[in-house]
């Protein structure tokens, strides 16, 4: 899929642009507290939106399938401070088992 190279390369340059920009801005303009807080809020919002889409959306609609119990398993594990990899793997296993044994979507 050569077209995905556009996403990989342009995306990488886009992410790097923020990093290098931070080193090029003069220090006295840099530490504006409001802007730092805004970046934090935007990060929370984007990650939450991505979580919602990845757990509920299929095509152009909201769909309830095996991802729901899987994400609940992950939520409990994150709440119990399980390691990231463990929570992600058990979420995948939950969905896979429900699909395999119960024929869930």
């Amino acid at each position: 899929m050569p077209s995905y190279w556009i996403a990989v390369l342009v995306g990488s340059i886009a992410v790097f642009s923020w990093k290098i920009l931070g080193y090029l801005v003069p220090a006295r303009i840099a530490n504006h507290k409001e802007v730092v807080i805004l970046a934090g809020k935007l990060t929370v919002a984007l990650l939450a939106a991505l979580t919602a889409v990845e757990s509920l959306v299929s095509g152009h609609g909201v769909v309830l399938d095996s991802r729901i119990p899987a994400i609940l398993v992950a939520a409990v594990l994150f709440w119990r401070k399980a390691p990231f990899v463990v929570a992600v793997a058990l979420a995948a296993a939950t969905a896979a088992l429900l699909r395999h044994f119960l024929g869930w979507a």
Binding site: M1, K19, A39, L42, A48, L50, F78, A92
Partner: protein, 236 residues
């Protein structure tokens, strides 16, 4: 014998690198399952080198295919903003010039900034940044390769629950940031707005519209009485 500060920074940096690097397995597997090649997956870890942004690229492309290319780039870009703020801080600490500035930029991520910021003197701050940055970079790329290899052998991603793994990965990334009423409010609002936009906007776009709108709403609410309560309950 108590550890000297120098070796404490070293072991913290390497420990963080190993722990974070392990997520690279999930990224590699998801990216391969999304339809990105092994090379594309590895280049993301080498060049983009920012977990949230990389998961966004893989997640959006998994959901939308080639139509997701532009939204994938925009989501990755928006999620990368915070690295810019770490860079502002680190520029004052590291005092790097020339090529080292470019190298430091690439290694500027959540973890290298966090370990650096946790040190109580400039020498250890510098050391913490470099050790953590290099160690995360090495382990993240190594485990990306392992994950991508396994993911490419796995067959249909949904059979293995890799779509659910993607959802869980984003939940895991947002979880530590959900501290306080205000961040919870932003998270829920962003999720709801985004889901409402799903039927009406092209694939991938709801996230990059819904999230900023939710943040904007918080700034508007702050001027009202409800907002005053949000503010009181949360100083973050």
């Amino acid at each position: 014998m108590p550890k000297s500060p120098k070796s404490a920074v070293l072991s913290t940096g390497i420990g963080v690198g190993l722990a974070v690097g392990l997520y690279g397995i999930s990224f590699g597997a998801l990216s391969a399952a999304a339809g990105l090649s092994l090379a594309q997956t590895q280049v993301l870890s080498l060049l983009m080198f920012s977990g949230g942004s990389q998961f966004a690229v893989a997640g959006v492309i998994a959901a939308s295919g080639p139509a997701g290319i532009v939204p994938a780039i925009l989501s990755a870009w928006l999620l990368g903003i915070r690295n810019g703020f770490y860079a502002l801080r680190l520029n004052g600490v590291l005092g790097v010039t020339g090529v080292l500035k470019v190298v430091a930029s690439q290694l500027t991520i959540d973890e290298s900034n966090a370990v650096s910021a946790a040190q109580d003197n400039t020498e250890d701050s510098k050391r913490g940044f470099w050790i953590t940055g290099i160690s995360v970079f090495v382990f993240w790329n190594l485990f990306t390769f392992v994950g991508a290899y396994l993911g490419s052998k796995a067959g249909s991603p949904n059979t293995w629950g890799l779509d659910a793994a993607a959802a869980a990965a984003f939940l895991g990334l947002v979880w530590p940031r959900l501290k306080g009423l205000q961040s919870n409010f932003i998270a829920v609002t962003a999720a709801v707005f985004t889901l409402l936009l799903v039927p009406v906007l092209p694939s991938g776009i709801p996230v990059i519209v819904g999230a900023p709108v939710a943040v904007g709403l918080v700034y508007i609410l702050k001027r009202t009485r409800i907002g005053a309560r949000l503010k009181e309950a949360d100083h973050a």
